[in-house]
């Protein structure tokens, strides 16, 4: 009997949400909710009304009743009569239903933002959050209102938005970095701290590169879930396409799946992805290859060979760059070899990407042209310095010549003067 009654209320709730009034475009509703709520002494009831003034929905002409129901023109408490569609503060799946009523309606959303996706609710129920909410009735999981701060929702491109790229990590971290809150789920809570040590966060926060990835770029936003072991590479290769393609064709790709370890994250970590360096490859101290290989096995030997090739290209590039810099600072014209050396730099960067094929042969194809260009540029620098030495040597010689000429002229003048004096005496 009780169960039947609860089910009846549930259907009533859904029916109420479905029939909440949709405001016409640009039509400002007559609302009396804020008039009372903003003046209430209880901040819990007053703050939402105050904040809502700047909410994107308020800006577009939506009012309180769009989500909470009720009778907007009614100035009395009767405005909040459930018979008039009032639902109060929605929780759990009701939040998703309320938001989805407009946001899943393609025809309706087209009027406001034709480019906005309308599958957020569908995606949400594929997420870990959505599945737990639906299947396990877990009320602690994130719903729409957990990330999009209710009553002060802004467009994601608005720097004040809780889902602006710069704020996504903190928004997710408000739950995921809270050890106490996350305790029942028995998952790590160091993701936010680790992410903030990563090159991705440094690029975003320090360099202002908003295209750098944050939580939702790898986990999905509405469909948030950890990437599966076999498809981590697909996620990373959304940006690191060349590395991802080379890795997917490499022997490691299959072996990693067989071993049950993720692709990119095994060497580069997942949240704490640090800036890479040539030290990551090889069999030396900081090399990640040694996590599986020894210096003696075939893979270890290949890793050492690849490290040696990369090192040699980098050293040859640095050597050529240094001599050209020295010649340039000495005033020599070395723009041609400097221009040529750009090819070697490109080769070095391509070689670093080519490491992800884990093939000495593939790497050699990138390294060899770079070595040739570096050697040619170095020869250009050497020639410029030889020319500099030649010029300096002959500058010294010409200085001696000029000095000798001055001395000779002085002596000649004196000789002419003494000859003049001699002829004057003879004349006298």
């Amino acid at each position: 009997m009780i169960r039947a009654t609860s089910r009846g209320f549930l259907w009533l709730g859904i029916a109420v949400i479905l029939f909440l009034p949709l405001p016409a475009i640009g039509q400002q509703q007559v609302e009396n909710c804020a008039a009372c709520h903003q003046a209430l002494p209880d901040g819990r009831l007053a703050e939402p009304a105050k904040q809502f003034v700047g909410d994107i929905h308020a800006v577009k002409g939506f009012g309180c009743v769009s989500c909470h129901g009720g009778d907007a023109p009614d100035t009395e408490m009767s405005a909040m009569n459930p018979a008039k569609g009032y639902i109060g503060k929605p929780t759990g799946t009701k939040i998703v239903d309320v938001c989805g009523r407009c946001h899943s309606d393609a025809r309706f959303m087209r009027q406001y933002n034709p480019a906005l996706r309308v599958d957020q609710v569908t995606e949400y129920y594929t997420s870990v959050h959505g599945r737990r909410l639906k299947e396990q009735k877990d009320s602690k999981v994130a719903t729409c209102a957990s990330c999009h701060k209710p009553h002060s929702i802004k467009a994601p491109s608005d720097p004040r938005s809780s889902v602006h790229p710069l704020h996504v990590a903190d928004t997710c971290g408000s739950c995921h970095a809270n050890a106490e809150y996350m305790a029942p789920y028995k998952i790590p809570t160091d993701q936010l701290a680790n992410y903030k040590k990563s090159v991705h966060w440094r690029m975003m926060a320090n360099k202002g590169d908003l295209s750098a990835p944050t939580c939702n770029d790898c986990h999905g936003n509405h469909g948030a879930a950890p990437p599966g072991i076999s498809w981590v590479g697909n996620v990373c290769s959304q940006c690191h396409a060349v590395n991802g393609e080379l890795f997917s064709k490499s022997r490691h790709s299959q072996v990693f799946v067989q071993m049950g370890i993720p692709g990119c994250a095994t060497c580069h970590d997942n949240h704490q992805i640090l800036e890479t360096s040539d030290e990551l490859i090889g069999t030396q101290d900081k090399a990640v290859c040694t996590r599986c290989h020894t210096g003696e096995d075939r893979g270890g030997k290949s890793a050492a060979a690849m490290r040696a090739m990369i090192d040699s290209l980098r050293q040859e590039y640095d050597k050529a760059h240094a001599i050209l810099l020295k010649a340039g600072h000495a005033g020599m014209e070395v723009s041609q070899p400097e221009f040529d050396l750009n090819e070697a730099k490109t080769a070095l960067i391509k070689a670093r990407a080519a490491i992800h094929a884990f093939s000495v042969v593939t790497l050699k194809k990138e390294v060899d042209p770079g070595l040739q260009v570096s050697a040619k540029a170095y020869a250009g620098g050497l020639k410029a310095l030889e020319e500099l030495g030649f010029r300096r040597k002959w500058l010294a010689v010409s200085a001696v010549i000029i000095l000798a000429l001055i001395v000779g002229l002085v002596l000649k003048i004196r000789q002419m003067e003494s000859a003049q004096k001699g002829s004057d005496k003879e004349g006298v």
Binding site: S211, Q336, L405, L409, L411
Partner: protein
């Protein structure tokens, strides 16, 4: 005695004349040699910091093609769009400064290092490049293409 002094004087005078003649000749050579080196054109034309005249002629550049050129010590890329418009950009990718190239199959400027794509306004449209390529001004004067830095 007087004859000996006269002889010494004449020898000294001859030596001084020889010395003066030699040093004057060497001086003239030391002036003329650098002058001749200066007047001889270098094997490759130098470009100024702000503009470069390309060795290409406008008619030699085919539509939907791109070519790398030297702008000082840095690479530039000259692109002729399918509509026949000449455009030039810095060819150093804004990601890690690899030299970009023109992809006629997709009409994009493309960086092979990490698959960065730029449209024909130089705007980064795909991949890791964080910003657009610097665009240069292209002017066709008579039969020459002159590329200059803007502002």
């Amino acid at each position: 005695m007087a004859e000996g002094m006269l002889k010494q004087f004449i020898e000294r005078r001859n030596f001084l004349n020889w010395f003066l003649g030699t040093t004057a000749g060497a001086f003239v050579f030391s002036v003329l040699y650098p002058l001749s080196r200066y007047l001889t054109p270098p094997p490759v034309a130098e470009s100024t910091a702000r503009s470069v005249t390309l060795s290409l002629k406008p008619k030699e550049v085919k539509p939907n093609s791109g070519q790398i050129f030297r702008f000082g010590s840095q690479p530039g890329i000259l692109v002729k769009t399918q509509a026949g418009e000449l455009k030039a950009f810095s060819a150093a990718c804004t990601h890690l400064a690899c030299i970009v190239q023109y992809r006629s199959d997709i009409s994009h400027i493309w960086c092979a290092c990490h698959n960065g794509h730029f449209d024909l306004n130089g705007k980064n449209i795909e991949g890791p490049p964080p910003k657009a390529l610097e665009e240069y001004a292209v002017n066709v004067r008579a039969d020459q293409i002159v590329v200059s830095k803007k502002s």
